[in-house]
């Protein structure tokens, strides 16, 4: 079964009762049950308008639509690879929507949902996976850093940027994304140590999607990940990562604390990677179908949909309009992808340095001359 097929199954059904709660997790912050029921949490009140709720639904649905389209494009040979966020939409949209405009986000390679909330054009993300560039968006204008593929490296960048915010007296914070696997990297732990030492306004947002490619979370930690933070001297909290409201509330609170000078927070968004690690991966080698089935019942989009329907916040027309918007988005992504021009060969040389070196200028010239020598030869 492809990720694409899984998706269609997952989005639609309104989850019944019987959707299992996450076992034995009293510490898990939840504001929306898997059945779509709104619950309160003593520490995390969330004031959210109906408009905002519909907006969150729209985000989730469009991001998934984008993801499905990208997976399809990869299957058809238009992308080299795609890292699907299937199942993690709520964690990403919740976190992204918690950001203030001047906050700066530092994604991994899977935060398409956060990119969406920062106004990054999906085609600028697609271009990376198509091999056209390393990400086509402007990280300064969007306040959304380029993707970082080396696991964990960006957590230090987020911490350093936060130290810059402190020096500027800016009332902003940074949001560093990382995976469960990333928590084992030395650099990630250093980032937490630095953040604690300097009380830097950075929030570490860890999507624990239960796997680092094939390796289950148990191999990275024998205690819940959110507990790591206490060892470094700052708060850690575990939130239901498939509950967009809880994620929004918890991330907002952590960012607010950071901006106020209370230092870092570690958020563990407990979620599940419903698709493969990337389109190159084959999850049947390392996990049981039953596990996926169980998690489908906690689907983040179905959950919000159920809530909106039951609470009368959105009706069939609304859902249909979002679907239609999704189709348009998908069409735009598809067309934009297949029409995306290849980069010029000279791009190889043009951005290595801010001040070009004579040697590289020479190599560029040779390159141009060499390729010109083939012209008319049918090469």
């Amino acid at each position: 079964m492809t990720a694409l097929q899984q998706t269609t199954e997952v989005v639609d059904p309104v989850p019944g009762a019987g959707a299992p709660h996450l076992p034995g997790q009293p510490e898990l912050v939840q504001l929306l049950t898997p059945e779509g029921e709104r619950v309160e949490h003593p520490d995390y009140a969330l004031d959210v308008s109906d408009d905002e709720l519909r907006g969150l639904y729209r985000d989730l649905a469009l991001v998934r639509r984008w993801d499905v389209e990208a997976t399809a494009l990869q299957r058809q040979g238009e992308l080299g690879i795609w890292a699907s966020l299937l199942g993690q939409e709520a964690a990403q949209v919740g976190a992204g929507r918690a950001l203030a405009p001047d906050d700066m986000a530092f994604p991994t390679y899977r935060e398409h949902g956060v990119a969406w909330t920062r106004g990054v054009d999906p085609l600028h993300v697609i271009s990376l996976f198509r091999g056209v560039d390393q990400g086509g968006w402007d990280p300064v204008a969007t306040h959304f850093n380029l993707y970082t593929v080396v696991i964990g490296a960006q957590t230090l960048h987020a911490t350093g940027y936060a130290m810059g915010l402190q020096r500027d007296g800016a009332e902003s914070a940074t949001l560093a994304f990382l995976g469960d696997g990333a928590t084992s990297q030395g650099e990630v732990n250093e980032a937490m140590i630095w953040a604690a030492t300097f009380a830097a306004p950075v929030v570490f947002f860890c999507q624990n999607n239960q796997y680092a490619i094939s390796v289950p979370i148990e191999r990275q930690s024998r205690v819940p990940l959110y507990q790591r933070a206490a060892g470094f001297g700052f708060p850690g909290v575990r939130v239901d990562g498939n509950d967009v409201l809880a994620v929004l509330a918890v991330t907002r609170a952590a960012l607010a604390a950071a901006r106020e000078g209370s230092g870092p927070t570690f958020i563990e968004a407990f979620t599940y990677r419903m698709g493969a690690h990337t389109t190159s991966d084959d999850p049947t080698r390392y996990r049981l179908a039953s596990e996926l089935e169980e998690w489908k019942l906690r689907d983040p989009i179905a959950r919000l949909k159920a809530h909106l329907s039951r609470a009368g916040i959105a009706d069939a027309d609304f859902f249909a309009s979002v679907d239609a918007e999704g189709d348009e988005l998908a069409a735009r992504i598809r067309q934009g992808t297949v029409e995306m021009p290849d980069p010029a060969g000279t791009e190889i040389f043009d951005h290595v340095y801010a001040e070009q070196t004579p040697e590289l200028a020479r190599q560029r010239e040779e390159f141009v001359a060499y390729h010109a020598s083939f012209e008319g030869e049918g090469h």
Partner: protein, 325 residues
Amino acid sequence: MAETLTIGKALNLGLRKAMEDDAKVVLMGEDIGKLGGVFRITDGLQKDFGEARVVDTPLAEAGILGTAVGLAMRGYRPVCEIQFDGFVFPAYNQIVTQVAKIHARSKGRLQMPIVIRIPFGGGIGAVEHHSESPEAYFAHTAGLKVVAVSTPADAYWGIQQAIAAPDPIVFLEPKRRYWEKGAVDTDTAPGPLFGSRVVRGGDDVTVLAYGPMVKTALQAAEAAAEEGRSLEVIDLRTVSPLDLDPVFDSVRRTGRCVVVHEAPVTLGLGAEIAARVTETCFHSLEAPVLRVGGYDTPYPPSKLEEEYLPDLDRVLDAVDRSLGF
């Protein structure tokens, strides 16, 4: 016994053989267990040898190499898989300051029979950090040895030879050639691990390559032959130590030499080889040693990798320039 195997499968079988032969061999790496590694090189090994001998590690390369050092001190022979070339750098401190130096530090009392397997090089259409050629970093590091295989037979035998060797070895696997097939004689090794090999005789220009570029060099030789030019192709096989005696012999005959690798030219292996060949064969050279390699830039997005990577045409171009001197 002669079998036809891909490089990937030959590595898999070679690892299996090494594990059967020596119970102290332990494989470590990310996703090498149930998944069998992202390239499936360790496919089936955890199932047959258990989790204690095929270890899915935490996601931490310094941890992989650092614990390998400890295991080696305890008498084990760790074989570490780095998932992609670009992810070896978190382990760099352990490799350069510990793995490479502990034998000397201990005056030989502690051996470090660690193999660091790295699928290296480009050409597979991957995203950033998945297509690099970091061999010069290791070849410049005293205490390490570095080899690069180019055929299924060298893969099958080389991995076993590397595991059996007493020194730490960076074992480079030409990832874009994993699926290429060749004959493997599973009874007799094709030669020692640290030796280069003339893989095609010729008289006009000596072309040197290792790993994925050997095939490219051979293709160039084929094409050149059609134009009446005779290239001698040498598969270096060992990057550190270099085995240049066959190269010197060849260059003394041809008077011309071209080195090909994917790594950036500046301070790539071609630099060292050019320096040594020139020093040793100074009076025989009719042209300077020319280098064909990656440009001095980060590895580009995959849509540009064909332009970046040395190919048949760029090798022939260098051959022309050499002959033009």
